[in-house]
Amino acid sequence: MIPAAFEYFAPGSVAEAIGLLEQHGDEAKLLAGGHSLLPALKLRLSQPGVLIDISRVAELHGIEAGDRLSIGAATTYAAIASDPAVLGGCAVLAECAGQIGDIQVRNRGTLGGALAHADPAADLPAVVLALDAAIAVQGPAGARSISADDMFVEMLTTALEPNEVVTRVTFPVLGAGEGASYAKLKHPASRYAIVGVAAYVRLHADGSVAAARVAVTGAGPRAERQHATESALVGSAGDAAAIAAAAELAGESMEYLGDIHASETYRRAMVKVYTRRALEQAVARARG
């Protein structure tokens, strides 16, 4: 349970961090909250020669409120969960961040770390997908934005290029007629998602569904949108029957990962159950 030796750098800026990444290449790993990396180091599943600690880079911190919420990548789950602007404008994000792991995890784990690591059972990728967040990154070739839909490629793999750093994530501020929710079947010990479903809906004035985004995490190798469910719901009355019918379509085309706690069959069933629960709550919130 002791990591192999490594060299440690704590750069003061994103540019400096990128320079270090370029200098050390494959040898280097970025360290933010460390909640995935440090256990991997201790178990020697990962043995990087160089750790670049970006947790204290000032430009990666802070939550800026405006038409949209812009959250620094090194912002902790705890900071997100208790931020008044997040609670007011994008409560589902605060809700999700506030139930990750336990207090210690929430005080160390970071938004950017969770997205860049892309753990298949992490919670935030589902919310990022459902809310169509934009992920700002910076690398040797400059800055760019990755849409949530393009971010999660496969298990533990994202659209980030080598030597790119997640800098900020931008979320919508939800208004009247919009609602979102995160429903989760959690692993009793780790509290990772066995199945986590994030749902977003926008309603027409007549109460019918104008737009819907649903994403599932935990059940398979990567967080994934549920297009069939979304299509079935859009244009419907958004009532219990419509939600139940749409939820039945969830998870049909997904790849699943079973383990000793929950089989693939059970996860497939739970995707439908939790999709229904997330949608019911999202619609209820949209109706105010």
Binding site: L185, P188, A189, I260, H261, A262, S263, Y266, V273
Partner: protein
């Protein structure tokens, strides 16, 4: 004094950390041990090369089988090698023992011990063990059979023919990990008198001493075993864990040695509760009278005998639960496999057997349209009832009183609704478990009491080797002595944790210490008091208490007098079930226990609540898993334990006091009983809520959901 909820004198030190557990005994300058485990389930050892390990700086010695004077140990059958010589039979088998200056060097050296193995065919489960062509784990054990017994009474064929209804089912239970708070640890050395001293935690000082002496081929008085504070046991410290390894290393190396196990070592290598497969058939008349029971109980004993023989006997005896059945045909079979050994665990075969029997009584009742409580009342053991082994029960049969108490309490419960979308149900079950050793095993406890003072008795010193594994037996012994002598608690001193300073009280197991050792303390106190009145100063008496004799069961039909005392219990559970996910939440537990006489009421309630938490884990989530002989759940991230948040918000313990004729002040044991009826009561409550029958525990959400779906689809029988 008797019945008073006196606070535990050891509580404050345990909470503040002042109390020394075995891991706290490690001192600077001690050599450290690390174990080389087999890591493979079945293989022949061709060669062991320890040269690279011995060459590592800091390494003092690497011990192998050749260093062990008598290389076998075991509680009943000494069939387990201390260090394997020819064959390894499960992943946790010990192959070598490294002695080094520090823990890191010792651990590092384990990786340098090179063992050349030839893998042998795997016996992965009981069905593989039973196969006619199965490889034998122990060549002198044909059929891989640890123990087989049959119990027959009456005419089972006629009993089934007389039945208006016959139901059959196969029940399955899983391994359970003891998960005591403190993993195994200890220290050992050779003292100035040439005695080997082992300080550790266990459940029976004198049995640990016997096995260590046998291993080292020493007379028992050359071995001293002492217990530090014991961080839980539940049967999990009955088999030797680190005791013999410490003794061996200290003896061979003549050093002070220490060994502190990690949690994964403890979980992956130590014995577990037996998983059982129980095929059973029950017949009853329309009026609810049970006419016949047939059962075949298969237990996975794992690689070594441990206590499998006794566990399967107990399970088979309780295959009819606490019901009088005129016609029975029972067969019990414990088998060797290449899995982790199974052994003692709170309940000792009784919970597994009664998951099946209690479930069958409820199913018969539902099928006949009889209230499950009424069905029980018609068949329950009463005074003088005949056991399957053909003899009347020991006096004091109080299971009906336990059930009545639960039903009365149930009637007083407030009505409330489950959360939206959830369904609520109630389930009731009864239970029986022996107190003390069974089947003719020599049962005794010895205590010495010495009274001193000038004109009046000022001080009593009680000596008896009872292990306080956390259940509070030290305080109970002092309360019993104080009450017998009319002294204040502070005047009674107990010496109990040193095999050289105490007489043998037997093990902290089978719910027996309060009855057997408590009675020895009680009688020794009264004998010393008589001598005090005869002017002896100090007045000293030693008494050995031996309860009524039991007998082995006859090979042909299981006839015999198996036990001298039983504890009885009944429970009702209120359970909410989410049919969509299969999640269950236990809302209310009513748990009635005839304890004969509560010596310390608070401790009895604590035992009930603690056992209920363990029972809830066993019934709902705890599932130690192996596949192909490899452990899949060697930590608490994979082996799920209940937390405070999983416990029922309402726990109502009901303590009945029908005096036992042998126990001190009428006390009888109770610490295992809450585990017995819990799982079948839960299964009954799930059925009440959803119509689904569960035949397999733990009743995980996945299994409950599947059962609910089968029931909804109408595939289930009533």
């Amino acid at each position: 004094m008797i019945g008073a909820s006196l606070p535990r004198p050891d509580a404050v030190g345990k909470v503040t950390g002042a109390t020394a557990y075995p891991g706290d005994l490690v001192r600077a300058g001690m050599a450290h041990l690390a174990v080389v485990y087999a890591g493979r389930p079945h293989a022949r050892i061709r060669h062991i090369d320890t040269s690279a390990a011995r060459a590592l700086p800091g390494v003092l010695a690497v011990l192998t089988a050749a260093d062990v004077p008598f290389n076998r140990f075991g509680l009943i059958d000494a069939d387990a090698p201390v260090l394997c010589d020819d064959v390894v039979r499960y992943v946790g088998d010990r192959v070598a023992l490294v002695v080094a200056d520090d823990p890191a060097s010792a651990r590092a050296a384990t990786a340098l011990v090179r063992v050349d193995y030839e893998d042998l065919p795997l016996v992965g489960d009981v069905h593989a063990a039973l196969h006619p062509d199965a490889p034998l784990l122990h060549p002198h054990r044909p059929g891989n059979i640890v123990h087989r017994l049959q119990i027959r009474r009456g005419d089972p064929d006629r009993g089934f023919a007389e039945a208006d209804i016959v139901l059959s089912e196969t029940f399955r239970t899983s391994w359970q990990e003891h998960a005591f708070l403190q993993p195994e640890a200890g220290v050992a050395w050779v003292d100035d008198d040439g005695r080997i001293v082992v300080e550790t935690a266990g459940q029976w000082l004198h049995e640990d001493r016997r096995q260590i002496a046998a291993m080292l081929r020493l007379p028992e008085d050359r071995v001293v075993v002492r217990y530090a504070a014991i961080g839980g046991a539940f049967g999990g410290r009955e088999d030797l864990g680190v005791q013999h390894l410490l003794a061996l290393a200290a003896w061979v190396c003549r050093r002070h040695v220490a060994l502190v196990w990690r949690r994964d070592e403890s979980m992956a290598t130590r014995h577990k509760r037996h998983p059982f497969t129980i095929e059973t058939r029950w017949g009853a008349r329309r009026d609810g009278t049970i006419t016949a029971v047939a059962a075949r109980l298969l237990a996975d004993g794992g690689a070594y005998a441990s206590t499998s023989q006794e566990v399967v006997k107990i399970a088979t005896l309780f295959a009819t639960g606490c019901y009088e059945v005129a016609n029975v045909a029972l067969e019990g079979l414990a088998l060797y496999t290449n899995n982790v050994p199974s052994g003692a665990f709170r309940g000792f075969g009784s919970p597994q057997a009664q998951f099946a029997s209690e479930s069958m009584v409820t199913r018969l009742a539902r099928a006949l349209g009889i209230d499950p409580v009424e069905m029980r009342r018609r068949n329950l053991y009463r005074e003088g009832s005949i056991e399957p082994s053909g003899e009347p029960l020991p006096p004091g049969v109080s299971v009906r009183a336990c059930l009545d108490a639960v039903v009365d309490e149930l009637a007083r419960q407030p009505q409330s609704a489950p959360p939206a979308g959830w369904r609520r149900g109630w389930g009731v079950a009864c239970g029986i478990k022996n107190v003390g050793y069974s089947f003719g095993y020599p049962e005794q406890a010895t205590a010495t009491v010495e009274l001193s003072g000038a004109d009046v008795i000022e001080r009593a010193v009680v000596r008896t080797g009872v292990a306080d594994v956390g259940q509070g037996s030290h305080l109970a012994m002092r309360q019993i002595a104080a009450a017998a002598l009319g002294l204040a608690l502070g005047q009674v001193h107990l010496i109990s944790d040193d095999s050289a300073a105490t007489p043998d009280a037997g093990s902290a197991s089978a719910s027996r210490l309060t009855l057997v050792a408590g009675r020895a303390v009680h009688d020794a106190a009264l004998a010393a008091l008589a001598r005090w009145h005869d002017e002896e100063r100090p007045a000293c008496a030693t008494v050995q208490f031996r309860p009524r004799a039991t007998t082995p069961l006859a090979a042909a039909d299981g006839a015999g007098r198996p036990n001298y005392c039983y504890g009885y219990t009944a429970q009702a559970l209120e359970v909410d079930v989410d049919p969509a996910t299969g999640a269950c939440r236990v809302v209310t537990i009513i748990s009635a226990h005839d304890v004969g006489r509560a010596i310390n009421r608070q401790q009895v309630e604590g035992q009930i609540e603690g056992a209920l938490a363990q029972a809830l884990g066993y019934a709902l989530m705890e599932e130690f898993q192996m596949r192909d002989g490899q452990v899949r759940t060697a930590g608490f991230s994979t082996y799920l334990l209940p937390t405070a948040l999983d416990m029922a918000p309402r726990i109502i313990p009901l303590i009945l006091e029908h005096a036992d004729d042998q126990g001190p002040f009428g006390a009888r044991g109770m610490s295992e009983m809450p585990l017995v009826p819990f799982a079948p009561a839960l299964a009954a409550a799930i059925h009440d809520a959803t119509g689904a029958w569960l035949s397999r525990q733990p009743m995980t959400p996945e299994r409950v959901r599947a059962a609910v779906r089968r029931a909804t689809a109408g595939e289930e029988q009533p």
